[in-house]
């Protein structure tokens, strides 16, 4: 009989092997799924994972990689900090939406003013909006002991309704012929988040994601707060004896991840998205959870995982176009990826042994 035996220490390469194995297993299982649905599995997998980078249309899709990876990495960096401490912010999607709304509100209030202050003010407003939305579950958990998982998740639905209300109500474009949705911020230069270097897809959100990777890496490995977070996640009681205040950690982690998600929302609203619509939330907040886990909650890993999941987004769109695969293929892939990752992670924590226990 197979049985699992806890490892006291895992070899260093196993921690890296698990995500790689999970990606390979997802490709295999995905191929099987495509075959069952009557598609050519090899062509489908190649279209999703290879063609966006090296295929005939790669010139168009390569910049998209950074456009999609930017928000994913930015959000996941914040989430990973909380996950390390055992604080589960599942509502990044809501914080992303509220950040987008708050940032866009600044731009729409300033319209048609000119000035270099507008974009920085929008970034601040986006971060503040996301922070505030993230602080709601933090305060409710600290004050009343309410589960931050459920509260942050409920707030996603509230944020979606808020975006719909804003798009149909106060933020509706007065020159939009009654169509729902705000003004397009890309057509309002002081508020726009344009491509900074032509042909790369780099916009301010991608820059911010890079900064976030570096900053959270420094935080977790060099700062006392990072030590507290890791201690609280591994041994909550011991951490308390070491002087860690759990309430402060909850507020810090939810606030940080909220602010980063809010910024991601703003960069999207002012850049690739361009406006607030009733469907402004695009699922980045949920996918970022997978990015955080796939990246092993480590900033560098998150960077790679963010690029990979961005690839599945672009590849999924390409496969939809070229092979008429269903649009939701990407979501299924992402779900499977997380399953396989969790399964292969078992190998890093346990040794598999044959036979009865000694």
């Amino acid at each position: 009989m197979l049985r699992l035996e806890p490892r006291t220490a895992a070899p260093w390469w196993l921690g890296l092997a698990a995500p790689v194995l999970a990606v390979l297993a997802t490709m295999l299982a995905g191929g099987l799924l495509f075959a069952l649905m009557g598609f050519d599995p090899v062509a489908a997998i190649r279209t999703i994972f290879w063609d966006p980078l090296f295929g005939p249309a790669a010139g168009y899709s390569r910049p998209q990689l950074l456009v999609k990876a930017g928000p994913l990495v930015l959000i996941a960096c914040g989430l990973a900090v909380g996950f390390r401490a055992g604080i589960w912010n599942i509502g990044a999607e809501g914080q992303y939406i509220v950040g987008g709304i708050c940032g866009a509100a600044v731009a729409l209030a300033a319209y048609p003013a000119e000035g270099a202050w507008i974009f920085p003010a929008m970034v601040l407003a986006g971060a503040a909006g996301g922070w505030a939305w993230g602080m709601i579950p933090a305060v409710l958990r600290n004050r009343f002991g309410a589960s931050e998982i459920l509260v942050s998740l409920m707030l996603v639905y509230v944020a979606q309704k808020l975006a719909a209300w804003a798009a149909f109500g106060p933020m509706r474009n007065p020159e939009g012929f009654g169509m729902p949705g705000s003004r397009n911020l890309q057509q309002y230069p002081p508020a726009a988040n344009p491509e900074l270097i032509a042909g790369t897809g780099i916009h301010w959100g991608v820059v911010a994601a890079g900064v976030a990777v570096l900053a959270t890496w420094l935080l977790m490995s060099r700062h006392i707060r990072g030590f507290h977070i890791r201690a609280a996640g591994m041994a909550p009681r011991a951490a308390r004896f070491a002087g860690v205040r759990p309430e402060a950690l909850v507020a810090f982690c939810l606030g940080l991840s909220g602010a980063l998600a809010g910024m991601a929302g703003l960069f999207e609203a002012a850049g690739p998205g361009g406006q607030i619509t009733d469907s402004f939330g695009s699922g980045y907040g949920f996918t970022a959870i997978i990015v955080a886990f796939l990246g092993r909650l480590h900033p560098l890993g998150i960077l790679l995982a963010g690029l990979l999941l961005a690839l599945t987004y672009i590849g999924g769109e390409l496969a939809q176009l070229m092979l008429s695969l269903p649009a939701a293929t990407v979501q299924v892939f992402q779900g499977m990826l997380l399953f396989f990752l969790l399964a292969f992670d078992t190998l890093t924590r346990f040794r598999i042994r044959w036979g009865k226990a000694a």
Partner: protein, 295 residues
């Protein structure tokens, strides 16, 4: 008249999916397992149930299909958390994301298709609502007055002690997870077959998460779940009535009501549990903890 018979029927109907899913999750959590995949199992049940009802023309077959699909999906969670000892929070989330993706992928052909007509039942209440109501005392009895219920609660309160007594912790939990999945799938099928009468992507709209909150609100008791589900049903119906009455509040803001009410209820109950001295209504002792038998 705020509460007449038709309004009450609407409330019952709105509460049923949440009631079924929350009852299932109560069983799962009393066995010490936290399955955050309720939303994923509900949406899968909603699609599978709708597809089965559409193919056979029989709502009964639809509900059966929904329950089977929910249970099947929950077994992925059971395999990962019970045999590969993965983190329950992350695995539950993965189940929800997977379920939402899977149904979006396979649901396309069913968009715009009408569901077969639901047969009525006694007092104009269909029999799935009756089933939900009947399950409340049944589950309470099984949990509190039978040997199986005692074993299940023992496993949930202290899995090491239960294991030492010779109970099959893993087996009990897998069974509980499957029952929870079947009830969540049934609840999902109720949404597509009996309330909305069609399939749309993401149609459960957070009902699974609300069910999770209601289990906490209920203090892990079936009667509490009934109260929570009715409270939720009441807020939903009230909100719809206000919309219909043309109250001067935008529809989008009114439709936040169920989610805000859930948060409010969660806060009130958590606060009471936090400051309460007694252990009644507290979470099962081993909730969410991974069990690994060393001997």
């Amino acid at each position: 008249m705020i509460l007449d018979w038709t309004t009450f029927l609407l409330l019952l109907s709105a509460a049923t999916p949440i009631l079924l899913a929350a009852l299932g999750e109560t069983i799962v959590e009393r066995a010490g397992v936290l399955n955050l995949g309720v939303e994923g199992m509900m949406i899968t049940g909603a699609l599978a149930g709708f597809a089965a009802a559409h193919a056979t023309g029989s709502p009964a077959a639809g509900f059966l299909g929904g329950a089977v699909a929910g249970a099947a999906l929950s077994l992925i969670f059971a395999a990962l958390t019970q045999y590969l000892l993965t983190n329950q929070v992350a695995t539950g989330l993965a189940l929800t994301l997977f379920g939402l993706g899977l149904t979006a992928m396979f649901g396309k052909p069913y968009e715009g298709v009408k569901a077969p007509a639901m047969p009525g039942g006694p007092l104009g209440i269909n029999w799935v609502v009756w089933l939900g109501l009947a399950l409340v005392p049944v589950i309470w009895l099984v949990l509190n007055r039978t040997r199986a219920g005692l074993v299940l609660r023992a496993v949930g309160e202290n899995h090491d002690a239960a294991h030492a007594l010779g109970y099959k912790v893993r087996g009990v939990r897998v069974a509980a997870i499957a029952i929870g999945g079947a009830l969540a799938g049934l609840g999902g099928a109720y949404v597509s077959i009996a309330t909305v009468l069609q399939w749309t992507e993401g149609m459960t709209a957070g009902a699974g998460w609300i069910a999770l909150a209601i289990v906490v609100f209920a203090g892990w008791s079936p009667w509490g779940v009934l109260a929570g589900a009715w409270l939720f049903g009441g807020v939903t119906v009230l909100q719809l009535r206000l919309q219909a009455a043309g109250v001067a509040v935008p529809v989008q803001l009114l439709s936040m009501a169920p989610y805000l009410a859930t948060i409010l209820v969660l806060v009130v109950i958590s606060a009471r549990q936090k400051y309460a001295r007694s252990a009644s209504g507290a979470a099962p002792g081993s909730l969410g903890r991974t069990f690994h038998a060393t001997r």
